[in-house]
Assembly symmetry: C2
């Protein structure tokens, strides 16, 4: 059913609060089309259709190193490996650093597709306690000492699924710990540029550049269909990550890489991101106000400063797997929380995405969700 909910993208009347999809009406289709056209009318087009190098085109790595540096993580092209979205970045890094049976520490809850990937790698996944400010540094330190993990996987900013952001002082504490303990930390950062409130918090990689591998993607800020993600790593890891990338799929589409490099050269991505922020902020606000109106008596939820997701926890017993079936019947989708737990799932949770529907439909979607919940689980007691 979750598969069905995430895949549903065409139902005209179904309101999509499941997948973390960007709003398609905000894509810079013209700019992207122009970039492809320039690449494909270039006299070097034969080069762009030929095999490329596994780490990715130099032009694109330069541009991605620039983006990474502007986010506070000093990067150079020789420490960047291009990947098929950040999902493949996580695959490449974890394949390189983790052997079957090794421990990976994750947040509780954590990102669904990362958990599926770690299961394929036969890693032992250990979830670490989180609260409203994200990972608890003491719990991280205790888990490192107890489990000797090969990798810590975290999405510290506007986390998928919780929407939470790890506070700056906690980042500093965790950075010190991984440096002292010599543990690698994989910082997955797809969302940090989609900030609607507050000011940006430096990535963990800025504080512990020798132990933190930083991965990101253009999927949320440009277009996911292009599948351009990247890894920024300590110099010593670049050769092994490049070799793993090569063994997995040789390299990413050279045409797409050149077109994205061209796009980044010809356009102001930051201006585009400001447009996205202006569009998404009222969607987040609309979702939060609809939640107050509809579920105020029966649930709690996170209040994200950015990103795409709100995480809802029901106070009453409510199996959100069953609720999804009722939601689909009522014409609204979401992702049941059980998918985001490596260990015993909290079945009274769910993830909502607020980016790919306009505020009016978000309101209606939450109303439908509230009715479905009421039919399924009844009214709050006293």
């Amino acid at each position: 059913v979750t598969q069905k909910a995430v895949r549903l993208t065409k139902g005209e009347d179904t309101i999509l609060l499941a997948g973390g999809l960007p709003a398609p009406e905000l894509f810079d289709s013209e700019g992207i089309a122009a970039a492809f056209q320039r690449v494909l009318s270039d006299r070097r087009v034969g080069d762009h259709l030929q095999y490329g190098v596994p780490e990715g085109s130099h032009e694109l790595r330069e541009a991605l190193a620039g983006i990474t540096t502007r986010r506070g993580v000093g990067a150079t092209a020789d420490r960047v490996v291009v990947s098929t979205g950040s999902q493949q970045a996580v695959d490449v890094v974890s394949t390189a650093l983790v052997s079957p049976g090794d421990v990976i520490l994750v947040e509780r809850p954590s990102y669904l597709l990362a958990l599926q990937l770690f299961a394929l790698l036969r890693a032992r996944v250990v979830a670490v306690r989180c609260d409203a400010e994200g990972l608890d540094p003491d719990a991280v330190e205790a888990a490192i000492r107890r489990h000797r993990p090969k990798l810590i996987y975290t999405m510290p900013t506007f986390q998928n699924p919780s929407g939470r952001t790890l506070a700056a002082e906690r980042r500093a504490a965790i950075a010190r710990t991984v440096e002292r303990e010599g543990v690698y930390l994989l910082e997955d950062d797809p969302y940090s540029e989609l900030r609607y409130d507050g000011s940006s918090v430096p990535p963990l990689a800025a504080s512990a550049p020798e132990q933190v591998i930083y991965v990101s993607t253009l999927s949320k800020v440009l277009a996911p269909g292009l599948r351009v993600g990247w890894i920024t790593c300590p110099s010593r890891l670049a050769p092994v990550l490049t070799a793993v990338k090569q063994a997995k799929d040789v390299h990413c589409s050279t045409v797409d890489q050149q077109a994205v490099a061209r796009y980044l050269g010809d356009n102001d991505l930051d201006a585009h991101i400001r447009r996205l922020r202006r569009a998404y902020r009222p969607r987040r606000d609309g979702m939060l106000s609809a939640l107050r109106l509809t579920l105020g008596d029966v649930a709690q939820w996170t209040t994200p400063d950015g990103g795409m997701f709100v995480w809802v926890t029901f106070g009453l017993p409510c199996d959100t797997g069953a609720l999804l079936r009722a939601g689909l019947d009522a014409g609204v989708t979401f992702v049941p929380g059980e998918n985001f737990f490596a260990d015993r799932p909290q079945r009274n949770t769910l993830r909502l995405a607020f980016t790919c529907e306009p505020p009016s439909r978000i309101h209606e979607g939450i109303r439908r969700l509230g009715s479905a919940r009421h039919r399924l689980c009844g009214a709050p007691r006293g």
Copy 2:
């Protein structure tokens, strides 16, 4: 040094006989550019920039099922999973079917990047004896009984690196064996349409469709930079292969998938492949005649009916790793044979590619190779 040889693509005077690169001057750049332009000027362009489904776009899977069916393997779109080249197809299939410590049977020699991938999976790789006609069916059967492999990996047509083709009666025998023993066989078929002599041999998947997973790519017949490969599998495997593909990188570039589907709809790929065959056949012939002229006294080599590669075995002791250094100094590249062995390498072997240089430069390249060998290893005795 091998890395350097394979990556060398820009040296003006260096003659490239290393990588299996298609001839870039033969790319249908105009047709491909037109296909991208149609996709990017489509009013549905927002759909093409959005997330897609992990198994790949329906239009492209329909087209690839058609190509597979015309090669003799009855296929439907619901049994096709799109991948980033055939390399990722091999990754997805082997990740789904093989656990760490399981045995994979391979040919001796076998494809370098498949061996690297199987090492990452922590599989136990067992090489099976091959002769001029490819895998020995009796040796395959004996190895199945002895090692109980989870997968047999083979490239039966114009194999990389040997150029050899598995004879039809051997295919039938191996197909019967894998059906009887219930073993999965992964048939990697990037080259079969590049045939210069003789008539086509049916894929193994045609004889044992429930046990053979057939993977192929458009890299050699359209353009490698687009990274479009695919898996055709028995129906029961489609869901698990799709889930593995999703965990690895969510899905392939939707823009590239739509452009390639468009290209295949608007153009005659078979006519393009006939042009490739006409261009590559004299290159193969030129390489074989240059080898006779230059290395006739000191080496033997395969005579491939198609594909891209000739496999050379020196009669005298000759470390082709050392020879590559001398070759690079003399301005010619190739791949030392040691890279293609899962077990004890035959160091007196090397792989030559004949597709990405014109016949005159192939002649000159083999001349340089012969001189380098003579300087390094001396004249034949007696």
